[in-house]
Amino acid sequence: MIERDTFVAARLSSLVDDRPVDVDERLRTLPQGPTRIRPRRLVPILTALLVAAAAIGLLVWAFTASPRREPASNRGDLIVYVTSEPPVSVPRHGFARFAGSELAVVRANGSGRRVLTHLGDRGLAAIDPAWSPDGRRIVFVAARVVGSEARLEGTLEVMNADGSGLHRLGTATTAADPAWSPDGGLIAFTQDDGAALAVIPSAGGPERVIDYRGRHGISGVTWFPGTNTIGFVEDGVFVAMIDADGAAYRRLPTGPHEGSFAWSPDGRQAVVAAGDELVVTALDLTRRRVLLRCERPCRNLGDPVWSPDGRSIVFVRQTAGRSVVEEIRPDGSGLRSLGATGWARSPRWQPSGRPPAAGPPPTPAIIPFTAPRGATKIELGRGASAAACGFGSVWVTNLPDVSVQRVDPSTNRMVATIPVRGVESMAFGGGSAWTAGINGTLSRIDPSTNAVTGTSSVGYGTESLTYGSGSLWVLQLPTSDVSDAGDLLRIDPATLRVTARITVHGYPHSVVAVGPSIWVLQDFDAIQRVDPATNGVAGASIQMQDRDTSMFAAGGSLWITSQETGDLLKIDPVTGRIVRLIPLNGEEVASGGNFAAVPGDGVIWAYGSRCCAPLPLARMWRVDPTTATARRVHPPTGGFTAAGAGSLWLAGGSAVYRFPEPSPPHSG
């Protein structure tokens, strides 16, 4: 859940709040005529629609609700959460978020709600609870807001699960976000409004600040299951990790989210609450699977956390004037409310202290995926994350299983499942298919045998790869906010060894090989050429006019999509100059949020639609990359990730969907 940045908000207010605005005059001179003629009411029709939707919802609920399971052995019976009065309005400063907050518990069956702390009498608020791994104690922050700038002060407090034995831990006065280590020995927390990350022995002792270069705006502290690695969020967006001893700092290039995430107890998945969505993701927060979408009157979903056995996720759902704790299973079933006392935040499920129950780890969450109309469904039997076309086949990546499924378009059947070492991105070239994992692992697949013929590890943060000029090129993202530089690695395809490391500034995040050049997209708004002959950047980066772009290669040229304008730009692969601008109904696309294009068999398929719009509002074009001419076609859907074999391909659920190439409108 996004909070205002008080520093920025204060400056913006100082800029415009004293600007005179004559509201009455503006109302008096409001344009008249058609705009003030009230349209006819649609109430009867809409009411019928709502009634029908409610009936369907009840039916779905009736069929999906199932009896509760018995608690697993390592799952306690309590959920602790922060409770307070509802915020009066959107808070302008921190105090409104914390005032009157106390800790309360509720049993997992929704009964037994009671308040554990009574700090309000002392002018304090209890926030940020976390269980000890044995489930017997709770650490939290006793907070107060001081000064005209609403600075948060907080001390670490520890108490027993029944609220007894309350005592202060350590001497920190600006603590927040404590998290108990898996072995119970340490508690990690932030200091100075997120400016520092620190640890303290849970039995008491001196705090120790973990020093690393990238620290900035730290929140959302957690421990990676079963390790001494602390995870946290930097600047509200980036997930970073560091060992408790200060070693091995790394930042996930993925994100963004707003500090509400938790890794599953088996360390295989994460759950993220990002405003209106609750999603289960891969470990690195890629490949989202939406569990729940917050529809009106819901305003926000937040603070998700797994039950210790990994079989449930609890989170808070906020509506106007209400914030309650809810539970859902990682497969999206079993949604139910546990209720809450007051305005609930930060639920945390109690561990039992016993070891995890024996048996297989929790099933990776796969949400139901409705087959789009007109598509041929090719069942893969496992999670399908994205599709790519190469060597006459469709390759579907499977993030949970870290594998690739190969589909033969001539038979519409899966012909191979290929376990690889990492599968976040994929490329083809040099007679091989290549995969890369965010953990820096590369895999080389021989398409003639479907065997992995080589693997390598090149370092954390691998985001994008491409093949060109006889080499594999792998982009590693910046690992801290201190630097905007990433490394482009040149890999020998035979040995999988790094033969060159080229520093590229400007937040590089994707790489494409085209002709004699390698191009890197920087911060969504500039491109930088890398010369394979010199293994260095060639010239200055080229700023794009619009600031939300993506790029790909087709027909021997580099292509840029402009999300802002809906334009498709053809770029000379050597000079970087725009040689053609193809406006694709820009106004319609630009006012929407989704505009993308993928190369197909000698064509480019581009599509755009308003954000979250139903299918009829989608637009699609067939672009000839040679002549740079575009023709409007019927859109089968949006969101496809690959084109080939005369079809468009969309991966979803446990299948890949095949669409025939779209035809022009009105062609009969």
Binding site: L15, R19, L46, G236, R547, G639
Partner: protein
């Protein structure tokens, strides 16, 4: 590799009360106008965009379930008007410069200087970054609401927001340790 299709249709809801538009206007116009001043970096344009957006919103008044819904629509319309205006008028940058020149002098030179610095810092942001920062940090909207208004996905909003905030902080607080 792109993202999965996320298609959804939200059923329309009955409209808000017929007589509430004027109150709605009086209550929210100033906030929208000032937010659009920040979004565009142009003080005059902010008010004009807001007025036009309110007028267009009134034309669809029956379609809004809540005042919040209508507010979001006003912002969305104002945002699209701003973008259309920018496309039509290649002199947008001159207009932005003019706005700075037209800022009324005050007796407090230091305060004026500070405002100039803030305005200059705002203009260093991309339009999307500026919009996200203004809507979240000034107008107090959620990332979901901003996503609806700007036609982005909430994660995209958060990226623009984070980068916009970081650039503002860098520009306005060189020491970075306030």
């Amino acid at each position: 590799m792109g993202e999965e299709a996320e298609l959804q249709v939200t059923a329309p809801e009955p409209g808000i009360s017929a007589g509430s538009f004027d109150d709605f206007f009086r209550d929210r116009f100033a906030k929208v106008a000032r937010t659009m001043m920040l979004v565009t970096g142009d003080f005059d344009a902010g008010e004009e965009l807001a007025q036009e957006a309110f007028a267009r919103t009134f034309a669809r008044w029956d379609r809004f379930a809540t005042l919040e819904h209508a507010t979001n629509s006003v912002f969305a319309v104002a945002w699209n008007l701003a973008r259309s205006r920018r496309r039509r008028d290649s002199r947008a940058k001159r207009a932005a410069g003019r706005a700075a020149a037209e800022m009324p002098p005050t007796d407090e030179t230091a305060r004026v200087n500070e405002r100039m610095v803030i305005l200059a810092a705002l203009r260093e942001l991309s339009r999307r970054q500026r919009a996200c920062v203004a809507l979240v940090d000034y107008a107090g909207m959620s990332d979901r609401e901003v996503a609806e208004i700007l036609g982005m996905r909430p994660p995209t909003v958060r990226v623009h927001l984070a980068r916009g905030r970081a650039r503002l902080r860098e520009a306005l607080r060189p020491g970075g340790d306030e």
